[in-house]
Chain length 190, copies 4
DNA sequence: TATGAATGAGTCTTCATTCAT
DNA sequence: GATGAATGAAGACTCATTCAT
């Protein structure tokens, strides 16, 4: 009769979301292959059974969490696209946006997790590819397809540098490189 | 029986190496978290006990396999450095070497596996970082530290593009981008 | 809403029967140990909760389903008894009735399920025994208790033969055997 | 350092046999569908892991246990065939042998378990069928195929009677019935 | 009353690790 | 030293049962 007995939440929608969110967090933290039902349940603050009630298999749950992470990545790319459209798709603007994004360690980790998982997951692969392509699209009009793709590749490189290296790339370095790749003038002189 | 025993006992070093090699292969193929003693023993063609005889824990064995993969990556970077030194560190030469390297799917996968694992493994992290740095070193003398680092970042991006995308980057695209990043002319050789 | 509620609430008796019927079907199809609340609810087209609303435990529900199957078996025996009374309890008539019954695979399966379950369930055991006895009763008056019991035993054997064998027993074989057991002529009708 | 630490048996053959034997016992006692790894391990006096070390799946273990039960049944049929060959395949001899067999409750249960399981298991089905056929074969030479098959069917009926009924069939009843079925004279007058 | 979300015990299975041989 | 049997702690998943709504 203590409050230990009170266990029901009765907000299935929220609970489902909590579980997916917990799974997404853990995927980012420990990797897709290392997450377990138990870890997810503990993180979400739900009993073990809840994780299997809402998702037929762990794979399904992982998939949904990954999709959620991918959606976040996509939203950030949208943000960059919008900002580029508003402020002009110059190396300077892009570099600033990228450095801003890089400051959000959580976002960087999420991005990395999605890309990493995409290697083995076809569905995620096309999502990850699409992200790069949409970034390239935003630059292609002004700089041509080829240079835009190269810039997107460089940006992917930035992501991994951020994950592996301790000292972050400077805005200047990024801007210069983008300018070189895109064949555009830099703010500061070379 | 002497013969059979000798075959079994002969060259513990070689056996050790076989086990590490098998583990490395499997890590590349199925991921660090999926490898097991049993898989490794089967792949290496050694009895299960051998995998625990030479390595105190699976983690230790995994670590050594990862180190071995990192050494391979390092060797490939050495190859690139040597070639750059011999043929001239131009975007054209570098692009050609990179495309050559990309053609070796096994090498690409190994590289990816190392980078992916490095995110969670401090020791590997510094190894992975060192690879990028040595590549940058090879370019810094001629193009300056900053441009060299940017080129190394772009090269990391190429790796991931190769893993995620279906159509590979052309030599021309890579060369142009490198030329832009390094501030070097595209078509002239050294 | 009144309508929807009424539809849901209408005739709890019928719903109860539906659940038992679904459980009985499933027991025949997949075996007593394999049935679950979920399977039964799905088969009966009722919500999961309904299966626990009407029956305290799954065992209770299973028990009732088994009783229902046993009642069906009993009804079929009644049919045979009636037919024997009307047409004469001769081997020929009995064989014909048996072959007819054997043609109904569902009935055969139900019979088998009841007998199989009866081995572990005392209550069912007496029901199963009673079935055999009532069949024997129908023959005892004319052929004596002992021969009648032997005939009933033979008839039980027929059931299992039908379950295990691929080629069914012919009416002739059954009639001959019954005639031999009952000490009655084969070809003459009553 | 107590003897609780001493756990190794190091007689894999025997351990395997023990596990199969335990599984067979339990199948007879609680039914094929109710046996679990845990029950088997407990019965065999081995740790849980041992049951999965020797058998890839529970199904495989169940299968082997069932085969072992079927082999026992086969051996008993062999015994009957031999005895019939030596003493003459008369109803009297057969009845005596059957009653003897029926006295071994364990054997009866094993037989029942095999037949029950055979309904769902094709491999076992043919084994069970073969058992009946070999019994029929032993009688066919003397009494003709048709009567021999009918006798085998009757004998199957006896098995189930023994499982369901409390008072066993008398030797006389069985002998009379067999004599009737086989068209052979009885020892005692009718 | 009727429903289905909630919980955790229990299932099969895998495997790191230990250690007898 | 080399081998593989032994063990039990997890892991994924299922489901009887409870009970909030």
């Amino acid at each position: 009769m203590t409050d230990a007995v009170r266990r029901r939440v009765r907000d299935p929608q929220a609970r489902r979301r909590d579980i997916v969110a917990a799974a997404a967090e853990l995927i980012v933290e420990v990797g897709v292959d290392a997450v377990t039902h138990r870890m997810i349940a503990a993180r979400a603050g739900v009993p073990l059974g809840a994780t299997t009630q809402y998702f037929a298999t762990l794979d399904e749950l992982r998939g949904e969490a990954l999709q959620s992470l991918a959606a976040d990545v996509d939203a950030r790319i949208d943000g960059i696209r919008t900002a580029l459209a508003e402020r002009g798709a110059t190396p300077a603007v892009l570099a600033e946006l990228l450095v801003q994004g890089l400051a959000d360690a959580r976002a960087v980790d999420a991005d990395r997790a999605v890309v990493t998982a995409a290697v083995y997951d076809p569905e995620l692969r096309s999502l990850a590819r699409r992200g790069s392509e949409r970034l390239a699209d935003a630059l292609a009009e002004r700089y041509g397809r080829s240079r835009a793709v190269a810039a997107a590749v460089f940006i992917d490189g930035i992501l991994w540098h951020a994950c592996i290296s301790d000292d972050p790339l400077t805005t200047e370095l990024i801007e210069s490189a983008l300018a070189g790749i895109l064949g555009a003038p830099t703010t500061t002189s070379d």
